[in-house]
Symmetry: C2
Subunit: 335 residues, 2 copies
DNA sequence: TTGTAAGCGTTATCAG
DNA sequence: CTGATAACGCTTACAA
């Protein structure tokens, strides 16, 4: 059996309260006794039982994280940020993988609550009504990642998707592209797909380029659908000079479709992405893309949680981090 | 305040033990009372406090996982397996990211123990003496991933690296390659790099191909070093007809070096990898590689832990899962 | 079948 | 400054 506070107290000839005091520095203890207790603790190799501690303090030092898929670079890197900052503040991460399924997500949300986690970082592809209902009455801090949560009172950390898409589209236009396809994601209001779309159309309009609906495709963050969309464009003889995919995976899918059909990137068609996952610089040609500060997104998310736990209320609901356009080799200049 | 077992007992007009019995099915309870209690539980929305439960049961329902880096496909996918099976058995995952640093790993190992986790899945790039000392005296189940643990008494789940490398080398030879470079990893005894090396040399010897040390490079799982190794080969005019990299990332690094220097894969040089990470089929040309059952590795690892927790001793120490050679487009036949 | 009461290892309150 | 002692919410002998 592990050694408990009692063992220490007995061996040091003091009461357990005294031991508790020295391990917590909570109340003054005479130096002599403190030393004695410390020595016994050392000898016995005593470590306080965090479970017992949690029970009385009603704190678990646990933060729950729900993600749709761990083996995804964006999510993994965000998790790195969460984990590192969490550990700095002595919080552990309880990991839940929802596979993006509503039912799982709801289940985990209540599971985490029942596990007494002190906060939840919740990442989902689609923020549904059911989520919102739950989130609105939950009494522990929750923060979301890259969702538009302005209608519910949940903080969210993200980048300026509108601005980023606007910037990227302008970049393309400045390179002489006029026929620019958009493979986008997140049609829902909670997602930033709509903001990206607005950024794209705004840039186009400002340059008097007409919006061609046949060049706007819906994707799902993954390669396959983007691949198929491009194959379709090829079949329809409706290839643009540039493709803007709002996720790097989709951009890769687009490039693969092009390459597999004998086109060259960027010589025949330019392709740009969004996120700057590791892969973006590993693929050939290296992908021009929008860099999201992924690690920082995770770090900021958990910082918000910790602040809320400490009772420091933040009134902001959207935490917007800076992005950056990373110019690499997948876009060709037409001018 | 959350509702407790007492509240339920009071409202249902029974003792707390009775409530405990119905929620645990531990002892017979008359049907009438059971219904009554269940109803109250429902009404009050009661969920047992797992912290209190852990305290008395001395079980946390927590399994600690230490990995060197979350944003890595292999690790993420393994984690998917761990998480999914863990949840099936009602275990939660406490995630620790060590960045592969010895000190962090040691810290987490004891942290997890003090957190009363019931088992630990420990993944590291290098299994050092310090780890072994710790692991030898720890009294909770630990399992490792892809390490050769035959000298300590810790189970490890892996594939047959010797066989896989042998198979791949033979594949290359059968395609007519004779000048085959090896970019390998894990020189230590705990790692399977040595086994892979043996598989490679065995195949070569069996075909009377002399081993050319100038074609054997040490890598570190990452792209950069492999990239540099290949650049060096190019500079030295010592390019083989095929490169076997023992990680897909390194294979990509090798291909990038080739492509960036004007060579074509596989037309000029063939490249094959190891692991079959997602990227392997996303890159162009698609990478021929050895597929490790990554998800299953995680799943098996946690199953072993759970079995050990239940006291079902396993005497095996190496759990070898099947691998598969996946033939794609990065290798050309010379015959 | 049900209830009483003794823990589990801490922290916190209140006397001394 | 120090020590009893009552919680925290739950499980589990032991009694009834």
């Amino acid at each position: 059996m592990a050694v408990t506070i009692k063992d220490v107290a007995r061996k040091a000839n003091v009461s357990i309260s005294t031991v508790s005091r020295v391990i917590n520095d909570s109340k003054p203890v005479s130096d002599e006794i403190r030393q004695r207790v410390l020595k016994v603790i050392e000898e016995l190799g005593y470590t306080p039982n965090p479970v017992a501690r949690s029970l009385v303090m009603k704190k678990s030092q646990l933060i729950g994280v729900i993600v749709p898929n761990i083996s995804n670079y964006f999510i993994g890197e965000m998790l790195n940020g969460v984990e590192e900052i969490g550990k700095m503040y002595n919080y552990d991460i309880l990991l839940c993988n929802s596979y993006g399924e509503l039912e799982q997500e709801l289940k985990y949300l209540s599971l985490l609550k029942s596990k007494q986690v002190e906060g939840i970082i919740f990442m989902t592809w689609n923020l549904k009504k059911e989520h919102k209902e739950f989130l609105e009455k939950i009494d522990i801090p929750v923060v979301m990642i890259n969702r538009n949560t302005s209608d519910i009172n949940i903080p969210s950390v993200c980048i300026d998707h509108f601005g980023a898409a606007y910037e990227m589209t302008n970049y393309l236009i400045n390179k002489g592209h006029k026929k620019i396809a958009l493979i986008r994601t997140g049609i829902g209001n909670d997602a930033f797909g709509v903001d990206q779309y607005k950024g794209y159309t705004k840039a186009l309009k400002e340059h008097n380029i007409e919006i061609d609906e046949s060049l706007i495709k819906n994707g799902d963050f993954k390669l396959e659908k983007a691949y198929d969309s491009v194959v379709e464009m090829i079949k329809n003889n409706n290839l643009p000079t540039a493709i803007f995919a709002t996720s790097d995976y989709m951009a890769i899918g687009a490039m693969n479709a092009l390459i597999d059909n004998g086109f060259k990137v960027p010589d025949d068609v330019s392709v740009v992405g969004f996120n700057d996952i590791k892969l973006a610089s590993m693929y050939r040609p290296k992908l021009t893309t929008i860099k999201q500060p992924i690690y920082d997104i995770g770090a900021v998310a958990i910082r918000i949680i910790i602040k809320k736990i400490k009772g420091e209320e933040e009134d902001k609901t959207l935490f917007v981090l800076p992005h950056e356009l990373i110019e690499r080799d997948s876009c060709r200049s037409l001018v």
